[in-house]
Symmetry: C2
Subunit: 172 residues, 2 copies
Amino acid sequence: MPRPALIADPELDLSLERVVDVPRSLVWAAWTQPEHLVKWFCPLPWTTTDCQIDLQPGGMFRTTMQGPQGPAFTNTGCFLQVVDRELLAWTGALAPGFRPLASEAATALPFTMTAFIALADAPGGTRYTALVRHGDASARQAHEQMGFHVGWGKALDQLVEHARAGDFGAPA
Amino acid sequence: MPRPALIADPELDLSLERVVDVPRSLVWAAWTQPEHLVKWFCPLPWTTTDCQIDLQPGGMFRTTMQGPQGPAFTNTGCFLQVVDRELLAWTGALAPGFRPLASEAATALPFTMTAFIALADAPGGTRYTALVRHGDASARQAHEQMGFHVGWGKALDQLVEHARAGDFGAPA
């Protein structure tokens, strides 16, 4: 499948790149299997209380996040690209089936994003690249101020811990 | 590539299905090559004055439509699925590179849509199915009232005429 280049626009995008000491197959499993995703996806003390994944372009990606106090937040998005162990892309700007958001849902969101997780073999494990695209600079800024870098970094730490704990069984 | 089922939701979607007396390869060329698309895409007396196509998921689909009077309208969307001679899907809810729309651009649109064109061999030519998904019933209604059925039907008539005129050269 041809793929658009994952080049970050500094005005509009946020990104995170790191080499993690986890095989590519386990990083992929952590992102694509709900029973694993719920273990690491939200930086503590937030937790992921529900996850639904229909792993195909147009398929549903839904997560529910719960803070120590207050209401839960459910995000329902749509996968755009699924390339086994290489690339996962989804957006919050489309509902499952590539359907546009209902006007009411769209205006209720602080911003929408499209995220790409790219994986590649690297000495010492897996090169992990997250790229998040926003529609305008103010959406990027809002996401950065919500703590993108700390949040996505901490979630990745949790993913690594979960993988090291050996809860995956044999590598796929 | 796995594909979501193209089933119309009568509350939210608009669709058009017809068998046309044109080979699948020519219908595909008419939809995916700008020099052909501009010949039929807008129902007369509207014309298509510009078209840019980057035929891959995430690639740009931009058209400019010009009425007999008044300003031109440019729509810039993004391809979602490209399956040679079978399925073309794109959305106006994402900019190229799967980027969410800028907030200003999103609020300026009367509605957004995701469209699917599915082609299959049929006795007498090609079964042509267009399915257009909207975010809510009011977007569907606005699109229907703009003349979806007449407009998309007339554009398809123009596509058939263009193909019959033999301007494509040899079938691909």
